[in-house]
């Protein structure tokens, strides 16, 4: 917005400016301070932290908290599974959503209306927690890696975002490819997919963040399977274990870890480990997801 500065701003505008800056500064502090505080405590000596008074920098710097948590095998398994589900879930989710979006963008596709309605309805029907749990059980997906990827494979919202993007591409591209003898799958793979990159970047971010942050599926379906726990689930256990809601706590090894350094420092260090990947990714994709958000919410 290009607003020329008035030669003499009236006092009411100066107060207005002041209020704006004060409010914005406060919001920024309230948002950022908790993260910086957690970061500082995670690098601070755990016995020193108990004294309190750590703000945004460590008082007695140490890496011991991190050394301790990485020595705990559950965390390494969690890290491995979290990365694996994020990569698999994002790639498969992207292929599924874009493939489906491509077929729905084709006005000449006979089954278009049916597929489109069938998919749109999934946004509104929900069987609920327990029928879904029983379904997963009957499909014998309990205690499998597949339960992280398959049930959340397609989201109608994502499909519609990509479709509206494909709708904006010139159809002539598809037509000329067809004249060259390309079939519909080749058109999708060689022409549509490369051109849809900006929309795919947004969806990839949403999918990856969703996968990385998920923990309820681990809790419900894979909680007793040590080899399939995720990082978020491990963090959840640690956080819940020292609050009064201890009935969900199952980790024995973590109790031993916590005996060495204070639970507070363990929590903070794991929190940072879980948060850092997000921090590394989202600022760079900002322009994409803003576009995706505005497009998606108008279309749906």
């Amino acid at each position: 917005m290009s607003r020329k500065k008035l030669t003499a701003a009236p006092w009411s505008d100066r107060i207005f400016d002041l209020v704006v800056y004060v409010a914005i500064t406060m919001v920024t502090i309230v948002t950022l301070y908790p993260f910086l505080n957690v970061l500082a405590i995670s690098f601070n000596d755990s016995t020193d932290s108990i004294k309190g008074g750590i703000t945004i920098y460590p008082r007695v710097f140490t890496l011991k908290n991190y050394e301790t948590i990485f020595a705990y095998s559950g965390l390494m398994t969690g890290l491995k599974i979290s990365i694996l589900r994020t990569v698999t879930g994002t790639i498969l989710g992207l292929i599924s959503a874009s493939m489906l979006a491509f077929t729905l963008s084709r006005v000449d596709f006979q089954a278009r209306k049916f597929v489109s309605t069938f998919l749109a309805l999934t946004m509104y029907v929900s069987g609920g927690l327990i029928p879904f749990y029983i379904l997963i059980k009957n499909l014998e997906m309990m205690g499998t890696f597949g339960v992280y990827v398959l049930p959340s494979l397609v989201s109608a919202f994502n499909v519609f975002v990509i479709r509206s993007f494909i709708d904006g591409l010139p159809y002539a591209l598809q037509e000329s490819a067809k004249l060259d003898g390309a079939n519909d799958f080749t058109i999708y793979w060689r022409i549509i997919l490369p051109l849809t990159k900006p929309a795919l970047a947004t969806i990839a971010l949403f999918l990856a963040v969703g996968q990385w942050n998920a923990w309820i599926d681990t809790y419900l379906y894979n909680g007793s399977k040590d080899t399939l726990t995720t990082l978020q689930y491990e963090l959840m256990k640690v956080i819940q274990s020292t609050t009064t809601n201890a009935d969900t706590f199952r980790g024995r090894n973590m109790t031993q870890v916590m005996a060495q350094i204070s639970p507070e420092s363990v929590k903070m260090a794991i929190t940072i480990v879980v948060t850092v990947p997000i921090l590394l990714v989202y600022p760079f994709l900002q322009r994409y997801f803003i576009k995706g958000m505005t497009l998606g919410s108008v279309k749906s």
């Binding site: 948002t31 309190g52 398959l150 159809y171 959840m236 108008v298």
Partner: protein
Amino acid sequence: MKAITTKVQPGPKKPKSSFWPTFLQQKYLYMMAIPFVLWAFVFSYLPLWGWTMAFQKYKPGKSFFEQKWVGFQYFRELFQDEQFFNALRNTLAMSIMGLLAGFIIPIIFAVLLNELRLQVLKRFVQTVSYLPHFVSWVVAAGIITKMLSTDNGAVNDLLLSLHIISEPIQFMAKGHLFWGIVTASDVWKETGWNTIIYLAAISGIGPELYEAAKVDGASRLQQVRNITLPGIRTTVVILLIMSIGHLISIGFEKQFLLGNNLVRDYSQTLDLYALNYGLGMGRFSFGTAINIFNSVVSVILLFVANGIFKKITKESII
């Protein structure tokens, strides 16, 4: 709202020939779509079949035909359970508080951001404000619990140093504070993210309106009141109506993570109730009855919201 219109492209023609030849011609399209139709059938529609469990005395391991039918017995049990009404109250309270706060505060924040003249600062604040949206609720709950803790929690430290309180407040152990804590956590986490849509709407307002107002000697506050806010009114109304449709489906994630046994009377939502008293105790039929109640009410709310929406805009969101 600024409608994003996709340019009308010279699209493919509708087929004129009969079904089978076109079917063969489009075999690749079918091959690309059918797996997902099957997927949607299994993971979205099949759970609805599971609703039959609520009318049976469901025992795992038995086939559908071996189950004993009990009619509405579990619904009668449900409507006689005090916990159910407690869970319903908590669900409604937290969703209405969340709706109001999550609707008003992002608008204020968007307007404030829009008034920032330093573009570098604006971009920085925006980037910072998106951060909490991207971290999981597990991380958020951990951070919030830490900030509100009685030993060295930032909030208590601040209040103590300002002499507003003389004893640390046990935020996480006080039931009557729980709804407020959940709402505030939601605001902390999602405000930045929710401003995106309002900022987009604000940027759609023509700069000539502001120029004209300035010529007429309008102050910045008057410009906000008379140009910015009316300019985003349509967006606001649409988003508000849409959120009515999702009023009751707040799930259990935040309540599960932030709650504990001390505040259970205030933290237990319908879904958490289904988790604790249905799944947790192996009472699958009873839990399914809770889920059905929840789903049916949310579908009704969705239709109500859509009805209001249709009346106002003559369009449908469903």
